[in-house]
């Protein structure tokens, strides 16, 4: 039985979170794991879209979300947040990007700040599941093809009209057949 830590408040993340972290096999142990994550996180903030192994991308996602949410929550005048950003972002010019570009961009988002997609494996070269991680609102073309509004295609409009006409015809037939039927008297008691 554990007790929730209450020393600091955190914002709720809007992504699914694994109950346990993944180890990310590393000879340096947990410290090396964070080093690896730091590298990918910096790259994510720099390029806004990366192709990675699924495990690494999934792990990085949580850290990226947390860092952005902290930046939104406390701003750049908060000492602890700045220290955290300084640890996680290796290229120091990107700290400015975090507080001046990303935090304002995501401040009124109601969804997660990042997206994670499954990518195809290049069998037999790559055996691990691949994925694409990106920051939302990036300048690149979307990964999933946008759904077109197919309702306004000319054949769909014509088909819709044809359906309406057919239905109207049917209703007319039904009303005519009802009129021809003899009336059945219903007596109330």
């Amino acid at each position: 039985m554990n007790q929730a830590e209450i020393s600091q408040l955190v914002s709720k993340l809007r992504i699914r979170i694994n109950p346990r972290h993944k180890n990310l096999k590393n000879p340096e142990g947990p410290q090396g794991r964070l080093k690896k994550l730091r590298k990918t996180l910096t790259a994510l903030f720099k390029y806004e879209r990366l192709e990675l192994n699924y495990t690494l991308a999934d792990e990085t996602r949580g850290y990226a979300e947390r860092l952005i949410s902290e930046a939104i929550r406390h701003g750049d005048t908060h000492k602890a947040t700045m220290e955290m950003a300084d640890y996680w972002i290796e290229e120091k010019q990107l700290i400015h990007k975090l507080f001046k570009v990303l935090a304002p961009r995501f401040s009124d988002y109601k969804t997660s700040y990042t997206m994670l997609y499954r990518a195809p494996k290049a069998y037999p070269d790559i055996v691990y599941p691949r994925s694409i991680i990106e920051l939302r609102g990036n300048p690149f073309p979307p990964i999933l093809s946008q759904k077109l509004d197919q309702r306004n295609f000319i054949h769909n409009v014509l088909l819709e009209e044809a359906k309406k006409a057919y239905r109207a015809e049917k209703y007319e037939q039904i009303t005519k057949s009802l009129g021809e039927q003899p009336k059945v008297e219903v007596s109330d008691k």
């Binding site: 209450i6 955190v10 993340l13």
Partner: protein, 296 residues
Amino acid sequence: MLLRNLKLYKVKSGLAPVVQICRLSSSIPLEDFPVGTVSEKQVKPERKSIVPSNCRYVYPEFLPDPKMQWRNPLREKLERMDMIQRRKHIDIPEFYVGTIMAVTSSNQHAPNKATRFVGICIQRLGCGLRANFTLRNVIKHIGTEMKYQLYDPTIQKIEVLRLEKRLDDELLYLRDAPNEYSTFDENMEAEYLPEGSPIPVNTTMVKLKPRPWRARWERKNMKGLADLELPERFYKRAEELATPWEKYDLMKQYRRTIPEEEQKEIFAEVYSELHEVNVMRKKQKRKKVFIKPFKN
């Protein structure tokens, strides 16, 4: 006007009048009834929450276990209801690790069927109905500890004698300290803090007895420990084993806490009832005040 009254009626009582209203409304032209008012009435202005921000310190056991595999919203809610029910029966005061308390619990072997134990709270663990705390005192030169479940029905009374905090969240090192650090008078009288004043922090530095200890305290980064006076190699080893990167592990932090939104939800649900209970207790206390007459 008539329609408006009817609408109100519809809200108050169940299904049957709805039919009536439908019938009546067909006879009254709809233009009489301004459509805008309905939506204006339904949209409530956002109320400021009255829940104080220190709730998580005062009632930490109302926050669920952050371990995701063990979460169960329904169980947590039921537990919270039970906890409030228990709090209606006995006064569970605000206390912290380092507070000196007295607990009276039922004991069938005691002559008056109850035992009172006075001691310093050295640990507070668990959440929900399983929340517990440990009191420590030295009785007849023997260090004694009692672990109580906070919501145990056999507990008759919990008193706070001196409300204060210490520098650490756990005072288990008192077990390795000389007896004077955890000796408290059993007939100690309660000290009152003025309402609304901040909780005082007791900054006593504890000087431990020489080794062997129950834990390697040089590795635990305790703030309330005086110089341990160990040979250099102990500190070297402690430095080797330290994990200074852990404070940067954002997800580890996240998995150990309950996010603010969830906390707000929980305390919004619980606070009004807790506040009611507190107010009731205060009223009772005011009634019961009785000053013992002195002989001159």
